[in-house]
């Protein structure tokens, strides 16, 4: 259930396979599968369908800013998304066809690209032999949730070939949480030839609508002015659309292997939200309407070749071009435009080249080293500023090194260093061009847009016992010399002071009998600004996950997960509440029929999924205040889903 195809080369490396995914509790969408990754915290402040906020290794990665994610090898972080840099929306994936999730924390391998400051998560698609065939499933949930799924994966074909369709509608546990989506994914091996290699075609289409309840001022909840799971305004929400096609070609060339991928995507995202009430505009309100539309094309190539028996050369490169139109407006209650904040046309290119060596001089030593160079080119037109046009090219070289020492058949030590990177967003290169006209008064004009590098190290050990026990320990540290954050309100690039993140991850997995896996993960992180010693806001200092995965030959299967989240530091000295959350699942399969019951938040804990510290002004009868205060988004209460699946083998 927890396995690695090859011996791990990093202490924190992990592969989560299809069996563990299949019995995981709280698997409403593929986004939720990220909860299976030790050390990842998710926070949903919209409804299902909106990208979640991610936390990993001391990073508040917002909607994906510092976590790189690929699906079938295709990068899905959205560079320059209007809603957030590196925005991730994984809801287009159908959980039943996620074959594995590979976790590489930190930026230590040369195939980790833009946004991989905290790590890289790779989703592989397919259906394993044990689950192949045709299945039809229907799920009914206590939130008036209906979900149907069909997966067709002919047994005679390999694990990469499948077609799947999903439709879902959920009223949500409270106002503003309604969600609906339809998604289809198909992957087929077109060619499998010793001469021409293999050629896989992937296609996907996705449409979703989701609500956005916003956040509530904690004082308003405490005074009873608004219910804990209520909303101030009920018109928030958005649309997410994606279509995707990819061709992957793999071929052996003598002793070497060549893999190349060509892909294209269309993405549309729009949403309306209001987090600050009437603070900015006391008359019309602060509703913000965003639209982001992008056409992308990309190409990747990688060639591996052993130079001698113990030394393997890897070279690769990638390119992706995006044509983006994006808008950001303040609108009134009828959604009429009050003020245009942004209206841009963007052409952007991301290109990378990498080269590295993998050397295994002895049985007990594995070394990898190399470097990658990344280039980002932007061509941005500001339609609100007389079509001002700005172009910029930025780049960065990033070395990566790692070593794995096998001390014996069961014990390994690991050491790694790597430089991660995050590219600037397209809007940021306009900051110096369209600065306010009062620059003569010495307003801060902001830093120069550039690639933000991070330097990370990891030291660790892993004990891989017999079938009963495995355990790992990893200590990590990440330094960012000077963070650069684009402030969307003031339209300047804010340079922040040096930060460092220190942490320890411990994981223990125990399999007392073949059908039962118990696991405990613990991540302790300290993220601070070096000069002041102040905590980096948002980063959870403690994350604990205790899980049980049971797959019994009799057909019974079950999953349980207890997650404990420590108090997160928030801006200005505030802090969030701690919480513990227990999710359960149980299922039984008899012949072609399978029943699954999922129970989210089994203790019906009243918990705050998101907590923030900012200023808002909702009741105009009260004095307007610009002072930040605690805000929250309610976590879902106890929810139950019953699913029936019929297999046609």
């Amino acid at each position: 259930m927890v396995s690695a195809k090859r011996p791990p080369v990093l202490a924190s490396q992990r592969v989560i396979d299809a069996a563990e995914i299949a019995v995981a509790p709280r698997r409403r969408s593929a986004d939720d599968l990220l909860r299976l990754v030790p050390g990842v915290l998710l926070s949903q402040h919209g409804a299902e369908g909106k990208g979640q906020q991610l936390f990993l290794r001391g990073f508040d990665a917002a909607h994906g800013t510092d976590v790189e994610v690929t699906v079938a090898g295709i990068p899905v972080n959205e560079l320059s998304n209007i809603h957030g840099q590196g925005y991730l929306d994984l809801n287009f994936m159908i959980p039943e066809v996620v074959r594995s999730i590979s976790v590489s924390k930190g930026p230590f391998q040369i195939n980790q690209g833009n946004f991989a400051n905290a790590g890289t998560l790779r989703f592989e698609l397919g259906v394993d032999p044990a689950a192949r065939g045709t299945r039809v499933g229907y799920e009914l949930g206590s939130t008036i949730r209906h979900r149907g799924v069909v997966v067709h994966a002919p047994k005679r074909l390999g694990p990469r070939t499948f077609t799947a369709f999903e439709a879902m509608r959920d009223e949500g546990f409270a106002p503003g949480r309604r969600a609906q989506r339809v998604s289809s994914m198909s992957q087929v091996r077109l060619i499998d030839s010793p001469v021409y290699g293999s050629l896989d075609l992937l296609g996907s289409g996705y449409y979703a609508r989701f609500g956005s309840p916003g956040a509530l001022a904690a004082a308003d909840v405490a005074s009873g002015r608004v219910p804990f799971d209520g909303v101030y305004q009920d018109d928030g929400g958005g649309t997410s659309i994606r279509s995707l096609a990819s061709l992957r070609h793999q071929i052996g060339l003598g002793v070497g292997k060549l893999e190349q991928r060509l892909y294209g995507q269309f993405r549309h995202f729009d949403m309306l939200e209001n987090f600050t009430g009437y603070l900015q505009d006391p008359v019309h309100g602060d509703r913000r309407s965003q639209m982001h539309r992008v056409f992308s094309a990309g190409y990747q190539i990688e060639y591996q070749r052993p130079l001698v028996e113990t030394l393997v050369l890897t070279v690769g490169g990638s390119w992706q071009g995006d044509s983006i139109s994006q808008e950001d407006r303040r609108v009134d209650a009828r959604h009429g435009v009050v003020h245009n904040n942004w209206m841009l046309g963007v052409g952007q290119h991301q290109a990378s080249a990498r080269a590295g060596l993998r050397w295994r001089p002895t049985k007990w030593l594995h070394l990898e080293g190399g470097a990658r160079a990344d280039l980002f080119a932007y061509d941005v037109i500001d339609y609100l500023q007389d079509d001002v046009r700005e172009q910029k090219v930025v780049g960065r070289a990033s070395p990566r090194l790692l070593a794995a020492f096998r001390l014996g058949p069961r014990m390994s030590l690991f050491a790694a260093y790597g430089r991660g990177l995050r590219a600037p967003e397209a809007r940021s290169i306009l900051a110096g061009v369209t600065a306010p006209s009062d620059v003569v008064l010495d307003r801060y004009k902001g830093g120069t847009p550039r690639v933000v590098p991070s330097d990370a190290i990891e030291l660790g050990a892993r004990f891989t016992g017999t079938r009963y026990l495995s355990a790992g320990l990893a200590a990590f540290a990440t330094w960012i010399d000077r963070e650069l954050v684009f402030d969307h309100v003031s339209a300047v690039n804010l340079e922040l002071n040096q930060t460092r993140r220190l942490g320890v991850e411990i994981d223990v997995a125990l399999r007392p009998v073949p059908w039962l896996l118990l696991r405990q993960d613990l991540t302790l992180t300290q993220a601070r600004f070096v000069g002041s010693g102040a905590p980096v806001p948002g980063a959870p200092p403690l994350l604990s996950g205790s899980s049980l995965t049971l797959i019994h030959p009799s057909g019974i299967r079950a999953g349980a997960r207890l997650q404990v989240v420590g108090a997160r530091p928030l801006p200005h000295g505030a802090s969030s509440a701690t919480y513990a959350l227990l999710d359960l699942s149980v299922g039984y399969r008899h012949g072609p029929l399978q029943l699954d019951l999922q129970i989210d938040n089994a203790t019906n804990a009243r918990w705050k999924e998101g907590e923030y510290h900012f200023a808002s002004w909702w009741n105009r009868a009260d004095p307007r205040s610009t002072l930040p205060s605690l805000h929250l988004s309610a976590g879902p209460p106890l929810a139950v889903r019953l699913a029936t699946t019929l297999y046609f083998m």
């Binding site: 307003r443 009963y468 922040l496 207890l562 200005h572 505030a574 929250l632």
Partner: protein, 263 residues
């Protein structure tokens, strides 16, 4: 077998201990303190403008609203690593970085009268604890009774009113100035460098700097009072619509002429 039991025990123990143990810490708001805000004339010195006129103010009143106090937080001063001889002192001027978060405020409308009476009290500001670096406020037009102005007050309907003398090489000009600035225009980033802790109680004092103490810039730079006194009667009235008004209107918006200190 004992090893497995020990491991299982440790795992369950961690789950049991960490769950309830960490599951009961509530959210915490940032700490707040309340500080009195006053106005005084301590910085109201006599100074020269860039054309050599020595200006002494007898009246200096400005209509403002919504005082805000900001912390820099972890914003990085990009010029901090450069030696001061390489980069102009202007960059080293405190308050130039207007970025930062507003974590203190005193809402309402005020007439800042720097020459009326010492220690004029504006009210009580609510502030989060932290290291402050900036003061902001909005300009407005002075109203009548709500600002305590009589109907013939020269400030009425305007943003600022100054009166005083300007002298140069034996020539003395008495001047008045009425300045209009569009309501809501913000003055952002005046120096306010104090650390507010949970036990802070000292009042915050707002000051007007007719001469910027760092760079020597005068509020009246660009004004040639001899040229303004075209009829030579020694009296000058600067009113909206004139070039002189626009000079003053611009300098009045600059953060370098304001500041706040702890009493």
């Amino acid at each position: 077998m004992l090893g497995k039991r020990v491991t299982l025990g440790v795992m369950l123990g961690l789950g049991v201990v960490l769950g309830p143990g960490f599951g009961c810490t509530p959210s915490q708001e940032a700490q707040r303190v309340q500080l009195e805000v006053e106005v005084d004339d301590a910085a109201l010195v006599i100074g020269d403008n860039d054309l050599g006129w020595r200006v002494e103010l007898g009246t200096a009143r400005i209509a403002v609203m919504d005082l805000q106090f900001s912390i820099l937080g972890e914003g990085h001063d990009a010029s901090a690593w450069l030696p001061s001889w390489l980069i102009g002192r202007a960059w080293a001027h405190p308050g130039h970085l207007s970025g930062g978060d507003v974590t203190g405020e005193l809402g309402g409308e005020f007439i800042l009268d720097w020459t009326g009476a010492g220690g004029m009290q504006l009210g009580t500001a609510e502030m989060l604890t932290g290291v402050y670096q900036g003061l902001n406020f909005g300009f407005r037009a002075a109203a009548g009774a709500s600002d305590g102005l009589v109907v013939d007050d020269p400030l009425l309907g305007h943003t600022a009113h100054f009166a005083g003398t300007a002298s140069k090489a034996g020539q003395v000009v008495m001047f008045t100035a009425q300045v209009d600035i569009e309501a809501g225009t913000q003055m952002v980033g005046a120096p306010f460098e104090i650390e507010v802790g949970p036990t802070s109680a000292a009042p915050v004092v707002l000051q007007l700097f007719p001469v910027d103490p760092v760079e020597g810039l005068s509020l009246f730079d660009g004004l040639d009072f001899a040229a303004l006194d075209a009829d030579g009667d020694g009296l000058v009235a600067i009113v909206p619509g004139e070039d002189a008004h626009n000079f003053l209107r611009r300098t009045l918006q600059s953060h370098v002429h304001y500041g706040a200190v702890e009493r």
